[in-house]
Every structure is written in structure tokens, then in C-alpha cells.
């Protein structure tokens, strides 16, 4: 039988790491095929090989049964392979139509024929029910719409094999549902789809078959009807997952974080936090569940003094820290594991040691009268590296050269060591391997046991459900409900995250 795509024994090496090792992927005509694996398992590398962005060191690629060499994205496009990138490859300042035709522009006497371009885009959009406006600028449309533009880019190039790279990461539950419908419609029109994902739910909702890869190697390819989520999960991880469960008794102490009637504007001066009230006690982990973009980032930034509060108050340990300077708030007892660890959590070109004192470098014993005590800093760094099992050649190594998991350990070590009364952890395990995830979950639970308040923000419902003592669901900038993790399930949370309160009423 002929496959739409067959990648045989692909090997791809990067300096110091084998990203793909003898991987075989067979995608049948007209199916939605999941490529399932952890972050860093080699999914994106494999797809970039297929798309011509990387050349494989070994292995062969067959498209519709014919052996092909794919040297660049042009070759891929010629063979009908299109990619919907995870990080959208769109030019903000260009219109939708301009983005779509770029590289294959309709011309009239050598001049851009935008009228024709708009017409083509409209027609394509209608055919697949995508409903985009070709004349709008990309910067003015929603994330969901932007993704449709990405899809249209591939359709415009006549692709019949579409790769979706983690397409749901940025979407709301409703948008996810719509996307799956779109994908099914595309398959109905004769396209074949590869869906790269690490989310089980999507696989069971959308896919026909699934190939699991782990650490750059093939594990198995199975039909969805022949498997179940548990099997797939253990295939992905390669062992029984030792789930850290928050088993310490729930024994809330005094209020550590008190937020009252908080209102915050985003960078476009739109209200993103609306009359939000929230209290976190010592000795509890409060999880905030919600779809990306419902105000989580702005809420944390407001607490940390990184974003101006328009209205309302924030107290830490009864200290009013509303609109205080970040340093003041940190000194008042805030620890913060930021969402973007490389951009916000570390100075990548500083050594591990220097990063360990990023908030405390000016204080005794690390400094006196403006002069650094480098010996004390080094000693502290060595101690933390050992305590938190940071895998680094030495404390002088640049943070940049550490793996993601070890970078996160540096941040966690630094924040926990300061012994803050309130610890905010934003997406603390995103993109990490299972070992690092377990370690970090353990540390969060430990902090709770010490009587600290932990505010956990995560898009991974599992993480929220396993770790939290209480779950606050955030929707459009306010807390729509607070639920007990033992008395709720993914379904209820999913509904709340979409703005539906119990009893079906729309919030």
C-alpha cells in the first residue's frame, strides 16, 4: 500500500545530541496521523526534516510512494507538503493576503496583483470554511485567526499533506474544537494530516493513528481504536510515571496573598483583569486553571510589580504592595518562577553562580558598601548546585549552556533558597522532561509543607489537579469559581475555563 508520506530510518544529529535516531513514520492517504512525544523527543526535528529545513544524516523520504530529496521548503511545497508552524510564521505588518501569497505572488506585467490575491484567498477561505478577511493586517486579528492564515498559506500552495505543529497550545477550548472540525473537513477534501502533539485528548478526538517517539527513537505506531490514554502515556514516557501527588494534609494558615477588586490593563490599554479577588494562605498550593490569555500573565505581573495596577489592592503578609517597585515586593516576601525562564528567569550570559544571586547580590553577605563578595557568592552557588542537583560543570559555567531542566533548577534553587512567604510558579514544568518535572513538583510540595503559600499557574490540567489544594479558574480576567480538586474533574474544569458556570449559565 502506498503512503502519503513515508519517512524511513531517519537519523539527524546536532552537535552533541542525536535528535532523531532511526525513526520511521508512515502516514496513510487521507488520515489524521498523530506524532506523539514529550517535549524534546524529536518531533519538531523530524518534521523540519520533512519540510526541508534540515537535511537528514541518514534515511529516505517517500512522498506518495516516490522517493524524494527535500532540500528546502521549496521542494517540500512542490511535493505538496505544508506546515502550520507552532510559532506562527506571519509578518505582523503585512495583510492576511500578503502573508499568504508571499513567495508565490500573482503578477500582472511583473507587478503585484493584489486584487487577484485577495480574490484567491477569499475563495480558498470559503471553500474550507475558514472565514478570514484577506485585507486585515495580521497584527489586528486574533490568534485563532492567525492560525487559519497559516493553514491558508499551505492550501494556497496546493499542499495535500499538512503538518500541524502543536497547534492547540495557544487556542481556547472553543477554538480547539473548531480547529479539529477544520482538520476533519480538510481530510474530507482528500488531504492528509500529521498532528504533532503531546496532548492525549486531542489524539483521541481527532486522530486515526498515532506514532509515538521517545528520546529521538520510534516506540510504536498504533491505531487509536486499539489503544487507550494510559497505554499511550506510558509509551511516551517509557516507564510508569511516578506522579507526585500533593498528599500532605491541607492545613491552611494565615493569609499570605490577598488580592481585592484588582483591575489591570494590558499593553493595548484593554481591561484584562476585572475585579479579581483571590486569597492564598500559608501551607497551601492554589492552582490557577485557565486557557492562555485570560489574564494569568497580567495577574502575576501585577503581583510582582511589573505591571501597573489600575484599581484594587494587593497585599503580601498584610503589607500593601500595590504598585510598589518590584524590588520592594521581592523584599516583602515574593518568590517567582517566571513562565519564560530563559527570558525572564535567567541572565543567560551570566554564570550559574551569578544567576544564583540575581535578587540578592546587593545584600549582605553577598555585598557590603557596594562591593561584591565574590567568594561568598561562589560558596553559596556551590551549595545550591549540590542541594538542587543542578547538572553543570561548575558554577562558572554560563547559564545559557545548561539544559532546560537544569536552567529551571537554578531558578527554583534561587527562589526557594530565599525562603519567600509567597512563591509564584508560572508554567514551572513546561517543556521539561519527566525527571525534572517530578523534581520541581516535589519542591513545590515541600514549600507548602514548610507553611509557605504557593500560587501555581499552569495550562496543564493534570498538573493543576495533582498539586493543588484549591483550584481557582480564571476566565476573562476574573476568578469564575474556586473548586476542590478532589471533587472536580477535567470536564467540569474545562467548562469553567470556557466560561460556563455549574448549571450551564454563561458567565
Amino acid at each position: 500500500m502506498s503512503y502519503a508520506i513515508e519517512m524511513r530510518n531517519i537519523r539527524k544529529e546536532f552537535p552533541g545530541i542525536v535528535a532523531n535516531d532511526d525513526i520511521t513514520l508512515q502516514v496513510q492517504e487521507g488520515e489524521i496521523h498523530a506524532l506523539f512525544g514529550e517535549n524534546g523527543a524529536g518531533k519538531s526535528t523530524l518534521m523540519n526534516v520533512l519540510f526541508g529545513l534540515y537535511q537528514p544524516d541518514q534515511g529516505e523520504i517517500y512522498v506518495h510512494g516516490k522517493k524524494e530529496l527535500i532540500n528546502d521548503p521549496n521542494d517540500a511545497a512542490r511535493l505538496g507538503i505544508g506546515m502550520v508552524h507552532q510559532h506562527f510564521m506571519l509578518i505582523d505588518k503585512f495583510t492576511v493576503a500578503e502573508n499568504i501569497i508571499l513567495g508565490r505572488e500573482p503578477k500582472k506585467h511583473g507587478v503585484l496583483d493584489m486584487a487577484k490575491a485577495v480574490k484567491i484567498v477569499k475563495k480558498l477561505s470559503e471553500k474550507y470554511g475558514l472565514d478570514v478577511d484577506p485585507n486585515q493586517k495580521v497584527e489586528d486579528i486574533t490568534v485563532g485567526m492567525q492560525q487559519r492564515v497559516e493553514i491558508l498559506k499551505t492550501l494556497y500552495r496546493g499542499s495535500d499533506i499538512l503538518i500541524f505543529d502543536e497547534p492547540t497550545a495557544v487556542l481556547t477550548p472553543i477554538e480547539i474544537k473548531e480547529l479539529i472540525e477544520i482538520m476533519k473537513r480538510l481530510v474530507g477534501e482528500g488531504k492528509s494530516i500529521i498532528l504533532i502533539t503531546h496532548k492525549l485528548k486531542e489524539i483521541f478526538e481527532a486522530c486515526d493513528r498515532c506514532t509515538v517517539i521517545r528520546r529521538g527513537r520510534n516506540i510504536d505506531t498504533v491505531a487509536i481504536t486499539d489503544t487507550n490514554p494510559n497505554d499511550l502515556a506510558s509509551m511516551m514516557v517509557g516507564r510508569k510515571v511516578n506522579i507526585q501527588v500533593n498528599d500532605a494534609p491541607y492545613d491552611p494558615k494565615e493569609k499570605v496573598l490577598e488580592i481585592e477588586h484588582l483591575n489591570v490593563l494590558d499593553s493595548r490599554k484593554v481591561d484584562v483583569i476585572k475585579d479579581l479577588n483571590l486569597t492564598v494562605h500559608g501551607g497551601e498550593i492554589l492552582g490557577i486553571a485557565g486557557v492562555d490569555g485570560n489574564g494569568q500573565t497580567e495577574l502575576i505581573e501585577a503581583i510582582a510589580g511589573l505591571r501597573k495596577v489600575k484599581d484594587g489592592s494587593i497585599k503580601i503578609n498584610n503589607d500593601d504592595v500595590t504598585n510598589q517597585k518590584t524590588r520592594k515586593i521581592i523584599e516583602a516576601g515574593l518568590g517567582y518562577i517566571p513562565e519564560d525562564r530563559q527570558k525572564h528567569g535567567l541572565v543567560l550570559d551570566f554564570s550559574v553562580g551569578e544567576n544564583m544571586v540575581l535578587q540578592t547580590y546587593y545584600k549582605k553577605p553577598y555585598a557590603q558598601a557596594g562591593i561584591l563578595h565574590n567568594k561568598v557568592i561562589t560558596k553559596k552557588a556551590k551549595q545550591l548546585i549540590q542541594e538542587f542537583d543542578v547538572r553543570t560543570p561548575s558554577e562558572r559555567t554560563l547559564a545559557r549552556s545548561l539544559s532546560g531542566g537544569n536552567q529551571q533548577k537554578v531558578i527554583v534553587a534561587r527562589e526557594v533558597d530565599r525562603s519567600p512567604q509567597l512563591l509564584i510558579a508560572a508554567q514551572p514544568t513546561r517543556g521539561l522532561d519527566i525527571g525534572a518535572i517530578e523534581f520541581i513538583h516535589g519542591k513545590l510540595i515541600e514549600e507548602k509543607k514548610k507553611g509557605k503559600a504557593v500560587l501555581l499557574v499552569s495550562f496543564e490540567l493534570d498538573e493543576i489537579l495533582h498539586l493543588s489544594d484549591r483550584i481557582a479558574v480564571i476566565y476573562e480576567g476574573h476568578i469564575i469559581d474556586i473548586v476542590d480538586p478532589k471533587k472536580t474533574d477535567e470536564n467540569e474544569l474545562g467548562l469553567l475555563m470556557a466560561g460556563r458556570k455549574k448549571g450551564g449559565s454563561e458567565a
Binding site: N48, F51, L53, Y54, D72, P73, N74, A77, M83, H85, H87, M89, L90, I91, D92, K93, F94, E98, N99, L102, G103, R104, E105, K107, G110, V111, L112, K153
Partner: protein, 321 residues
């Protein structure tokens, strides 16, 4: 002196000084729209001016007469284009810091041109004067129009009007052709362009080479219309002024042309201001520094935000986000 008379002095003088700036800043538009910062415009103008001097002298000698300076401009365009390839190779292929490379390009141009002048003219630091300049003329027909004629079409050079026409052409190329769309795309989001099969390096090489061609023309026009010989102080800041015009014009061809006109106007005032009532009391330093001060003010965003292309100045490395 009547207002009309003032205009007949100032406008032609503005057009004259603006032309080299227009060409050079248009070159900057090509380069920076493709995502390569070009601090080296000054050096490219120096190469253009030097080449134009040598070429005009040679062509005159060969008996080409009035055609010499025009041909010299073409030769200078080629020379500028070739010279700019150094910047392209170093900053695009070798991923050097574009500002560093631009600074070095200015150094190299200044050193190399004077070095060559000394080689060619037995150790003298300057070239002889060319005898066939592109002169100020009254444009036939148009200069006879009452009022407008004497202001805009008497005592002007053709190069000024050529510069204006070409800025319109550049606008058309950048905003209305597939080439322009692609050029802008690699300056805004090279990875996106790459995934659509557009070669980022190729587009950027073209962008930089065009900046060389236009910078070369700018320098050449400056030489054949204004200075007439090449020495160490011929191009002293003209390239940086063009860079300011590019920024002042918000990386837009028509904007760059307008800014160049404005800077030309300021320069014209600083030179001819003494003849004009009221202005003669204003210190010339005000006019001389005006372009730079105003560019700083524009950049602060008081007069609408000036935004550089998003990927301007960032080397593109495949596979990196």
C-alpha cells in the same frame, strides 16, 4: 530682498544639496528594509565620489566631454555596489555585528580612497578638479513658467529631478512588486520568509548591494555637482546625514526623499542664510545641527512613532527562533 527672491535662492540650493542625500538614503531603504543596518553609507558615498572623480577625469581625457560625469555616475554605482559586498559578506554570511561591519566599511573606504588617490597622483592627497561638471542650468520650457519657473526650474541640476523620480520608482518597487514584498518580508520576519522558500541571504545581499549602488550614485552626484574633486574631506558626514534622513523618513522611500529635501533645505539655509533678512541673525550652528536634532526628536516619537523593520540588524541563523 523679497520673499520671491529668497525662494529663488533657497529652493534651487535645496534641490542641489538634497540630491546626493536622496540617492544615498534610498540605498539605506533597500538595505534596512531587507534587515541589514547600514552604518557604512558614508563609506559607500566616499567610494562613489572617489570613483566618479577618477572616472570623470579619465573619460574627459578620452574626449567624451559632457557625457563624462554621467558615465562616471554609472561607473560609481557599480563601484559602490561591489564595495558594499564586503559589508554583505561580513554581516550576512559571516554573521558579524552589522554596526561593527558598517563602521569598518567607513574606515576602509576613507583609507582606501585616499591611499589610491596618493598612488595615482604621486603622493598628492587630492585629485585634480574635473572640468565637465553637471552644471546648474535652466530647464528648457519649464523655467519660463512665471513664478514656478524661477523657483523650481532655474539654476538647478538634472540630477535633483532624477533623484525625485527615482525615489518614486523605489517606492513602487518596494511596495508594488513581488521583489519588494519579499525584500520587506526578510526584513520583518526572515524565518517566515525562509519557510516560504525565499532565500533570506539572497534578498539581503541584493538589499545591501542596492544600497551600495545608490550610495555610490549619491557620492558621485555630490562630486560632479558640488565639489568637483576628491580629497579627504569631500565626504564628511554626508553619508551619516543620509542615514539620518532614512530614519527621519521612517524607512520609507518617499519619507527618506522628503527628509533629504528638508536636510538639504537646512544646509542651504546655513550657507545662504547670511543673505536673508532675519535668518542672518540666527547662528549658522542652528541650521547645521537642525537635521540631527530633529531626527532625535522624531525618534522620541513625539511626531509619530518611527519604527525600524522588525528584524533590522539581526543576523538570520537558520533554525533559530
Amino acid at each position: 530682498m523679497s520673499f520671491f527672491e529668497i525662494l529663488t535662492i533657497i529652493i534651487p540650493s535645496t534641490l542641489l544639496t538634497a540630491a546626493p542625500l536622496i540617492f544615498t538614503s534610498l540605498g539605506g531603504v533597500f538595505s534596512e528594509r531587507s534587515g541589514v543596518v547600514n552604518i557604512g553609507l558614508e563609506g559607500l558615498m566616499a567610494v562613489g565620489a572617489f570613483t566618479a572623480a577618477i572616472a570623470t577625469l579619465g573619460l574627459e581625457h578620452a574626449g567624451l566631454g559632457d557625457a563624462s560625469p554621467w558615465l562616471a555616475i554609472v561607473i560609481a554605482a557599480v563601484a559602490g555596489g561591489v564595495f558594499s559586498l564586503i559589508h554583505a559578506v561580513v554581516s550576512i554570511s559571516f554573521r558579524a555585528d552589522q554596526t561593527v561591519s558598517g563602521v569598518a566599511l567607513n574606515f576602509l573606504a576613507a583609507g582606501l580612497t585616499i591611499f589610491l588617490v596618493k598612488m595615482i597622483y604621486d603622493g598628492k592627497g587630492q585629485t585634480p578638479y574635473i572640468t565637465h561638471n553637471i552644471d546648474k542650468i535652466n530647464i528648457p520650457g519649464l523655467s519660463k513658467i512665471p513664478i514656478i519657473g524661477p523657483i523650481f526650474f532655474q539654476q538647478v541640476t538634472y540630477t535633483s529631478y532624477l533623484a525625485i523620480l527615482i525615489s518614486l520608482l523605489v517606492w513602487f518597487i518596494i511596495f508594488k512588486t513581488p521583489f519588494g514584498l519579499r525584500l520587506r518580508s526578510v526584513g520583518e520576519h526572515p524565518a517566515a520568509a525562509d519557510t516560504l522558500g525565499i532565500s533570506v541571504s539572497k534578498m539581503r545581499y541584493i538589499g545591501v548591494a542596492l544600497s551600495g549602488v545608490f550610495g555610490g550614485i549619491g557620492g558621485a552626484v555630490y562630486l560632479v555637482t558640488i565639489t568637483s574633486n576628491y580629497n579627504v574631506s569631500t565626504i564628511a558626514g554626508q553619508g551619516f546625514l543620509a542615514l539620518a534622513a532614512l530614519v527621519f523618513g521612517k524607512w520609507h522611500p518617499i519619507g527618506a526623499m522628503g527628509a533629504s529635501m528638508f536636510f538639504g533645505f537646512a544646509q542651504a539655509l546655513s550657507i545662504t542664510g547670511q543673505q536673508i533678512p532675519f535668518l542672518d541673525r540666527l547662528p549658522s550652528v542652528v541650521m547645521l545641527t537642525a537635521p540631527y536634532v530633529l531626527t532625535l526628536i522624531v525618534l522620541t516619537g513625539f511626531v509619530g512613532r518611527a519604527e525600524a523593520p522588525k528584524a533590522d540588524g539581526i543576523p538570520y541563523i537558520k533554525g533559530q527562533r
